[in-house]
């Protein structure tokens, strides 16, 4: 019985840790499938985290907080869109700028809200079950956003491979010139994809500040945006692999939790290195086969588009 409890606890903790990676990762997957490399995921997640937290505390409604967070992420993504799509700025530099700005601006916006406690979303939903068995209590930690994150890979897989809009998205990411010549509005499609990526990042950030921790502190995303970016590369732009990679990383992120369960006394600083080191290892494993990456990457990824007409 005890082992089952531990297994459930690890599963729940893994799913919870994987949720922000799934949300942000699939948002970025859509943006990259359209041919846009937005390195600002970390910044957009931070904006989502602070705005979502403030919105929830101020209005008392997590729904409003989440919507505001998605809006904030999408708004920041639109800044990126204007710079890279309309003004054709370098996507790498602009993505970095987005992250630098997001780190600073989220800290500025959230400065008065540090240390304010908030009840997690999960306990908001199921207050009456608080006296049940340990396993049920564990499962109650799975809030609606986690369930959404479980659904997202299936929805996006279906969208990309089974719908006409998904086909057009893939086409634009493959060659904007051809898509343009055939009469598709490359910029409109890319703006939509980038905005979607921003909203998903905002949601992922808000999940951290509203459900995972739940509280707001400066720079609390702690590199998860970058890990999500690495996972998209790891997945070779395929939804199934992205979902799998996120789970794997959720598992690594809670290493400290597992170490305690196993009775290991390692420095928390060394354990905290694990997700970052794991990201490097995974990246190395996938990048070794350059041909495979080249084959699967959206061919127009990162390249600016300027219609000459």
């Amino acid at each position: 019985m005890h082992e089952l409890e531990i297994a459930v606890a690890i599963l729940v903790a893994t799913l919870r840790a994987a949720t922000p990676l799934v949300l942000a990762g699939f948002g970025e997957l859509i943006a990259e499938r359209s041919g846009v490399l937005n390195l600002g995921v970390e910044g957009m997640m931070l904006m989502g985290a602070s705005v979502g937290f403030i919105g929830t505390v101020a209005t008392g409604s997590p729904i409003i907080g989440l919507l505001l967070a998605m809006l904030a992420g999408a708004a920041l993504a639109m800044v990126f869109g204007v710079l890279t799509l309309s003004l054709m700025a370098n996507q790498v530099a602009t993505g970095l700028a987005l992250t630098i700005f997001g780190v600073g601006f989220s800290a500025l916006v959230g400065v008065k809200w540090i240390g304010i406690p908030l009840e997690g979303i999960a306990t908001d939903i199921w207050p009456s079950l608080s006296s049940s068995s340990p396993i049920v209590q564990q499962l109650m930690l799975l809030d609606p956003i986690v369930w959404l994150a479980v659904l997202v890979p299936f929805l996006i897989h279906r969208f990309i491979y089974r719908t006409r809009a998904g086909l057009v998205l893939r086409a634009v990411g493959e060659s904007h010139d051809v898509a343009h010549a055939l009469g598709y509005s490359v910029l409109k499609i890319r703006y939509l994809a980038v905005a979607f990526g921003g909203a998903m990042s905002g949601l992922a950030g808000a999940y951290l500040s509203l459900a995972y921790t739940p509280m707001w502190s400066e720079n609390m995303v702690a590199g998860r945006g970058w890990i999500a970016l690495a996972l998209v590369v790891f997945s070779t732009w395929k939804p199934a692999w992205l979902a799998l990679g996120s789970l794997l990383f959720g598992f690594v992120t809670i290493a400290q939790f597992q170490a305690e369960a196993l009775g290991l006394a390692l420095s928390p600083h060394l354990l905290a290195m694990l997700p970052y080191l794991a990201t490097i290892v995974v990246l190395v494993l996938i990048s070794r086969d350059a041909t495979r990456l080249k084959l699967n990457a959206p061919a127009a990824l990162g390249r600016p588009f300027h219609a000459t007409a």
């Binding site: 086909l167 893939r170 086409a171 493959e174 060659s175 898509a179 010549a181 055939l182 009469g183 084959l295």
Partner: protein
Amino acid sequence: MNASALPPRLRLTGIVKRYAATLANDGVSLSIAPGEIHALLGENGAGKSTLVKIIYGVARPDAGTIEWEGKEINIPDPNAARRLGVGMVFQHFSLFESLTVAENIALGLGATESIADLTTRIAAVARRYGLAVEPGRHVHHLSVGERQRVEIVRCLLQSPRLLIMDEPTSVLTPQEAEGLFDVLRRLAAEGCSVLYISHKLEEIKALCEHATVLRAGRVVGECDPRIASEQQMAEMMIGGALPVAHRSAPLHEGKPCLQVSKLTLASDEPFGTTLRDISLQLRDGQILGIAGVAGNGQKELLAALAGERRAPQADSVLVCGTPAGHLGPTARRRLGLSFIPEERLGRGAIAEFPLSENGLLTAYPHGFVRAGLIRYGAVNKYAAGIIKRFAVKASGIDARGSSLSGGNMQKFIVGREIGTNPRVLLAAHPTWGVDIGAAIAIRQALMDLAAAGSGVLVVSEDLAELFEISDFIAVLSGGRLSAPKPARETTVEEVGLLMGGRMAAEGAAHAL
């Protein structure tokens, strides 16, 4: 059918289109009758592609009117063009590599029918016109000829009334081109008009009933190509007498300067061609032409000869007698090898760099660097010398690569590669996309280099060019190289069959 009684399928009047400082189209007018095959002739930069973009709704004219079957209309985007019944086969195919044939066609149709229904329709049209396509295959697996068939099928599915073909045969073997002409004639007989863009005059004579000639954005003449001579049409295109290149007598029995023996090399590109058992010998004073359809190993062969790809054995490539298979580009240059690559900006030259540094790019092993520092005085002198010798039109040695026209950039690159006095020169598509004047100057430079005793290897898709300048011709097909034959002892037909993948032993005899 009496075509003159009907209003023209398409009539353009006074079309003007300006890009930045250049007038791409300056009052262009032309008219195409129903069922007519109409040629649009002109050099690179004459304004052909701009005009086609306007007809297909990709670009919008700054002035002028478009009439479709007697009614004045406006074509805001390609979807509108397709609704009218305009179909287009692009020169650089508008296909998505990672998608299937059926998905590509679905994207081009803008319709919402299921892929399954579409597949049936594709099969029907393909059967009717004798165009073999497989809807389920991914485009990146297809040869260029197959890709073109996909584009044509895509157009035919929309029952076009005007089909635009942009340089359709530049990637086909002569036999494949004949097959294409049959399809076009059949379409025309069914009443579809064809606007045929090409610079290959012999094809236009064989296929078209009417020709409009563009130069510098203006219509400079019209003719019936069945009557006008190739010479007349060429002179209309360039606006003057056609210059001719002269070949001095080749040196015979020179020493071998480039030898390749049994070279087999897998491509490092996802869909590249593996080189199989390539052997060749180039002697001083010779020009060896290598024909073939793009994608049959040309890029791979040149990379292996220039040193960008190393061979597994050092002695599978000998440069001036020295084993060089294991050497990189710089070491091979030191042995006397030079290379004019296919792509100009981005490979042969750098758009953002001044011409002086573009000269340094490959000339640096020849005494332009001392103690790790660049001798800019010598570099500037070298670039100025090239500009002068090859009459490169540029504002000076500080002009950026991007500021030169394609032809002038190519003249500069040719000058840079010849300027180091190579024993062996590799040239990939040396006159592709350059104007006739520059093309002749470049061919002359290659022939002069051979006359002075160097070996020249030219890879080209332009058979007329290869027959004009080469002493020997070999064909690259599927990564295999046929045995070189003296240019005078072979024919375009024979080379064409080899290009189509039939090796001499099995094919030539019964096919001819």
